[in-house]
């Protein structure tokens, strides 16, 4: 039921064939000797009010994708539409005013807060930049924001080092909320926190969404947490999305061989379950994004790759309702049944 309701919802963000390549510059003459294809042709939609999880292993391009959507990296190619407006066509000043609507929460609550600023200044900064408030009004807004993220407003004059990791991440959340955005990219917001603190921050993000109706892009490598917090999930491998769909559907019925291996590798805190589980162990490592394999990205480690996988790149196809997979082998299997 939830899914059908979501389906009718408006598209907030539409990403079309987005690419972000970073040049590799070598030698005395600083020549460009190659490209790191961090994000290499990605298309998907994010619906109003949902939480889309973006998962994948380190180096798969998930953080770069999050930042490129927000135009914090200039895309190499492709388009990002926010409420139907093309962000890549906008001027700097247009983009700046759009940024009120789209914010980011960073992974590391230690390096993403300026140690010389009080938390009042940190949280007020976006409000000052966008001339949203000043003076007494500004101070009051900061207090409201602090309360909203579960911090004592009396702490406003303290510096970041006086707070624990979990509290700092709350400060990061307050700063992201300051301009009342509709879209928030949460880039591994809990990875740096202790297990007992992670649940606190996740609950906070969920409560804020219920209250304020944010749309989240939740970037994470923790597949268990993604299942808990997200409505839909996109799985990345080497700069591309290999599978996307509603979270229960994707976790219960994974199609792409990479996702199957990834899910089987996630440990479950229950010895009885662990005894029964079959692990699919992938051979080898992820290839370098500077030199991706020809054909399907995953063909170097894939247990079911065949000729076509070494010649062509598969596109995402909706092989099961609300569940898209980019894999020729799965496609063929579906065609046979």
């Amino acid at each position: 039921m939830i899914e059908t309701k979501k389906e009718k919802k408006d598209v907030l963000v539409r990403v079309e064939n987005l690419k972000k390549h970073f040049p590799i510059i070598t030698g005395f003459l600083r020549r460009t000797s190659g490209q790191v294809r961090a994000v290499d042709g990605v298309s998907f939609k994010i619906f109003q009010g949902e939480t889309l999880g973006l998962v994948g292993e380190s180096g798969c391009g998930k953080s770069t994708l999050g930042r490129t959507i927000l135009q914090l990296h200039i895309p190499t190619d492709g388009k990002v539409f926010f409420e139907g407006l093309d962000l890549s066509e906008m001027s700097r000043s247009e983009l700046r005013s759009m940024r009120r609507r789209m914010q980011i929460i960073f992974q590391d609550p230690y390096s993403s807060l300026n140690p010389r600023m009080t938390i009042e200044k940190i949280i007020a900064e976006p409000l000052t930049i966008h001339h949203s408030a000043n003076g007494k009004e500004l101070r009051e807004m900061v207090e409201v924001l602090l309360e909203r993220v579960g911090l004592n407003p009396l702490f406003a004059n303290r510096f970041p080092h006086e707070f624990s990791g979990g509290q700092r991440q709350r400060i990061g959340v307050a700063r992201a909320l300051a301009l009342n955005p509709s879209f928030i990219v949460a880039d591994e917001p809990i990875s740096a926190l202790d297990v007992s603190i992670q649940a606190q921050v996740v609950n906070l993000l969920e409560d804020l969404q219920d209250e304020l109706g944010h749309t989240y892009l939740f970037i994470a490598h923790d597949l268990s947490m993604v299942r808990h917090i997200c409505d839909r999930v996109a799985v990345m491998y080497l700069g591309k999305i290999v599978e996307i769909g509603s979270v229960d559907e994707v976790y219960e019925n994974p199609q792409h061989p990479y996702l199957q291996a990834l899910l089987s590798a996630v440990p479950v805190p229950d010895p009885m379950v662990e005894e029964q589980r079959q692990r699919i162990i992938l051979e080898g490592d992820v290839p370098s994004p500077a030199n991706p394999p020809v054909g399907c990205n995953f063909n170097t480690r894939c247990p079911i790759a065949f000729d076509r996988c070494f010649q062509e790149e598969p596109d995402l196809k909706e092989l099961i309702p609300r569940h898209e997979t980019a894999c020729f082998a799965v496609e063929e299997r579906m065609a046979l049944t």
Partner: protein, 334 residues
Amino acid sequence: MAETLLQIENLTTKFHTDDGTVNAVNGISYTLKEGETIGVVGESGCGKSVHALSLMRLIPIPPGEITDGEVFYRGRDLLKIPIDEMRNVRGGEIAMVFQDPMTSLNPVMTVGKQIMEVLRLHAGMDEDQALDRAGELLELVGIPEARARLDSYPHELSGGMRQRAMIAMALGGNPQILIADEPTTALDVTIQAQIIELVKRLRDMIGMTIIWITHDLGIMAGLAERMLVMYAGYLVEKASAKDLYANPSHPYTLGLLKSLPRADTGKRNQRLIPIIGRPPDLLSTPKGCPFLPRCRYAIDRCAEENPTLKEIGPEHEIACWIDVKTAETHEVIG
């Protein structure tokens, strides 16, 4: 019944810093039986790594100091034997694998040379024998083109390969006990699964005894026979792995398990139950239970006396005054 291989009694480690004394490990005792895998879990700063470094006598002194305790291994107290003898134990009979293979490998020495060093020191091999054995070891831990990889420098290997090389090095001295300190924390899940599979295979093949230290309760579920849970430098729960997950009895263990989402069951729309508050300050020594400020079950007695481990079932001990099955809970203000 397997024989006791290692017996730790009242191990206590402190660090003397400018801000005061940090009570990192506060009198922990347990025994390790031959061939078993024991999991030591807890969050950062709970003393799980310091406990391992202490029993290996790898604590920097000063500022660290092992103020009390005994570590019996084959009739000797490792904390009292001469340092030369301890050097033979380390890397020989007891080997250790660390979290970050990049900082624990020497960056200017080839992987082969580093493994050969262990073999020459602890297995008494000459250059040629060591070279041969190093190649075998790399093969054993599943490094492709093992012989060629002997000439690689650590930076030329991926994170997973480096951790394999570390394990090969640890195996060099034919250890009885392997201490693995968060060996997969820096790795991706698919690589983590490779390493865990490797360690299980080696364990069954060589019959190694393992102390595996981690913050991840998920990993241990498929790996350990017995579990130790640490909080603020204390052992707060000791149980068989099956018992610990099915029947967690210390409020902290219970809290940890309840705050974990699971990938295998759909539990959306069900709130996680976090542990309120923040990790303990090890500089202070509260009179009562260190978990008191975060505990939903605490009673008056918890503020007065710090509970010691007591048996609540077969091989199941907790350091807690209350019974979580019957006790009333109350709100905790963070």
